[in-house]
Amino acid sequence: MATLDSKIPSGPLADKWRKHKTDIKLVNPANKRKYEVIVVGAGLAGSSAASSLADMGYKVKCFVFHDSPRRAHSIAAQGGINAAKNYQNDGDSVYRLFYDTIKGGDYRAREANVHRLAEVSVNIIDQCVAQGVPFAREYGGLLANRSFGGAQVSRTFYARGQTGQQLLLGAYSALSRTVGAGLVELHTHSEMLDLVVVGGHAKGVIIRNLITGEITRHSADAVVLATGGYGNVFNLSTYARGSNATAIWRAYKRGACMANPCYTQIHPTCIPVSGDYQSKLTLMSESLRNDGRIWAPKKKEDRLKAPADIAEADRDYFLERIYPSFGNLCPRDVASRAAKRMCDEGRGVGETGLGVYLDFSDAIKRLGENGVRERYGNLFDIYHEITNESAYKQPMRIYPAVHYTMGGLWVDYNLMSNVPGLFVLGEANFSDHGANRLGASALMQGLADGYFVIPYTVGDYLAGQKPGSRPSADGAEFKAAADSVSAMSKRFLDTKGKQPVSYFHKKLGKIMWDHCGMARTKEGLESALQKLPALREEFNATVNVPGSANTLNQSLEQAGRVADFIELGELMCRDALTREESCGGHFREEYQYADGECKRDDEKFGHVAAWEFQGAGKTPLRNVEALNYEFVKMSVRNYK
């Protein structure tokens, strides 16, 4: 049984982080260079952590599976980054950002972590501006803000529709500077395939070079994972194709607990699937719902008709019908689930039947085509590029898609997992968003963790490790881990079955989407827990991975990732089945109010579930960390 000590400092909420920073141990500057830290992943969290630690004097090795750190999927975030600067003089404060985030997370995040996030949010903006991130400006030269969902203040900083790109390039430039100065050893095309635990502490990783296939062992005094979320379990998502859970999953199998894996966020307005060849779903900004009306045909037989041929009386503006007070602007999860119900009833539009209309004809009547173009022109262009349809002439087709995972490896207040020496940052950990993440908060968390949390907390751990005490990479644990990695590759290559890896990924995605997607039921999850082990067996018996292990072999890379996704999917279903309540992104149909809102059970489930690996084929152990709300009252989330 893992010990889950959250190490939350005592004292008033606003003083916890300050107090903690003065309490934790420091490493003296001359000793820092004797410690080596491995950072895996170079998105917002990884790049910022690697450069910050290197600037402090630690020896840093950074591993990325991409060809360059600049490719990490943080780059695709569009909307913005929140910070409690209160530049708009609209009453924002650290407390309000904290409160909005806690409430947005449906009271399933830790108060202390979230408050710290809100505190350092202001430093993040300072840091990014100093690095040259070209945030949007007012004519006077000062920073501009926009408003975002889940908040009543304007606190979102943005760089056109490419905020994530600009923030990542900022962090990447800091990383590049430290690499150029010889402070960070950067390894690209390098995928982490195992965590090495020596004497109960994380002391190294096993890396496969994706070009040469070479397996190398790397030891360190501490290991930092910043490898992102696991939404690609669903196959179709807004994630990059390469986004994967292998690093965190292999760490889980070495003893790190996986917390709340069932918390996944589904975004209502994505471009629907157009065929079974589809590889990717593209997000359309939520802001479209300000002027668009969502509907589906009333009659099943109309679903393939051209929308213009469906009479007004035959259209069901279902959000306006079911949620008359909020209408098209009801919360993300509610809108997503309603659209799914329409499609489940057979009224979904488009060839696949998985889509509803987002109609701008009223807005065009009201504002004129140019008025609509001014507000949403770039989004209409993207839509046209992908679908070859003009949303000025006919309604958009939209459907919800997986977009973010709130769950991840369990970490304490120091962002250290239950395996000492293993730190987990960004989307890869579970810590700050509870059961649902607010828009523009993912970027904030990644940079907060990398620039302003880990530089303090890694020192607290290292101060307890003797300088020079890190084990040699020739040790038995390293050899065993490297051998198991090689054996796994060999197994995939030797199976020589009939099915390409993509076949299993698609099949997995369908099971997960059907049973562990927007709406979950006991029966559905139980059936998924029957299907997934069978899929795993089928994969092991019939996967076809051509080529060899010692060249670039994308099928082999994908095989390892999909094998992990299948196992992780099983854990997600298990977690979702056990959590007999609805909260945020986790919606169990059995637990809802009459209006379709989530019905939480704070008494029984006001806690973090942290799953502990017990060995292959064994049921994992569900550990519990109670969430003690000292400052905020858990209440029913209400946006009405």
Binding site: A130, R137, Q166, R241, F452
Partner: protein, 270 residues
Amino acid sequence: MVAASSTKSISVTLRVWRQSGPKELGQFKDYSAKDLNPNMSFLEMLDVVNDELTARGEEPIAFAHDCREGICGTCSLTINGKPHGPGKGIATCQTYMRSFHDGDIIVVEPFRAAAFPLIKDLVVDRTSFDKIMQAGGFITARAGSAPEANGLPVPKGDADRAMDAAQCIGCGACVAACKNASAMLFVSAKVGHLGLLPQGQAERDRRVLAMVNTMDEEGFGNCTNQYECSAACPKTISHDFIARLNRDYLSASLRSAFRPEAASTGGGGA
């Protein structure tokens, strides 16, 4: 706007560059891709072809890709000689099969540049871009040392132009399209982005000299002002930034040639 033919499937012949490794000999091989939905993206079409190859026991075509929404800059192949395919201002992943006709022969090649050595099939190594960035593509600002963000106003016009340049996705299409495999558009975008901002002034001369020097060392060609780069750029970054880079380089060279040097660069140790 709604293509009536959008659901009519097409078949094409792919003439794909296959090369099993950097030292091996490469050659074009033909593959037929049948009954494709025109709404399929070009990369999804390659996925389908690859699954068929796998089923036939052949090695799938290696190609670089990741986000598939035009922002990560990973996808890197040329379609009929043009990086990222026929469209303007889009990446390969945003190219759809409806851009092609039934019966077309489509030639698919890797980006070709000595500074982007080939890894396999259509995948090339663009580490040289990272090296240029490491030489100077940054503003030195350690975490914790930043002043208040609104302490330094930036004229909106400058911020907007900096953003125009900063949109670069680092894909290398400029190098691939350039008749001389020059990286000037890439370098100029970064130099322009940082040089337009007040924060970037302290390191301005150092940055441009170091980045151009590394660009030369990495074996890129020289700009002949033909502007194929900006025409191929998926973010349509203007070659005006190249003019700006040239100007910056000239003035930095002159300044650094005549500026007196400090007696010591040390920080005053105890």
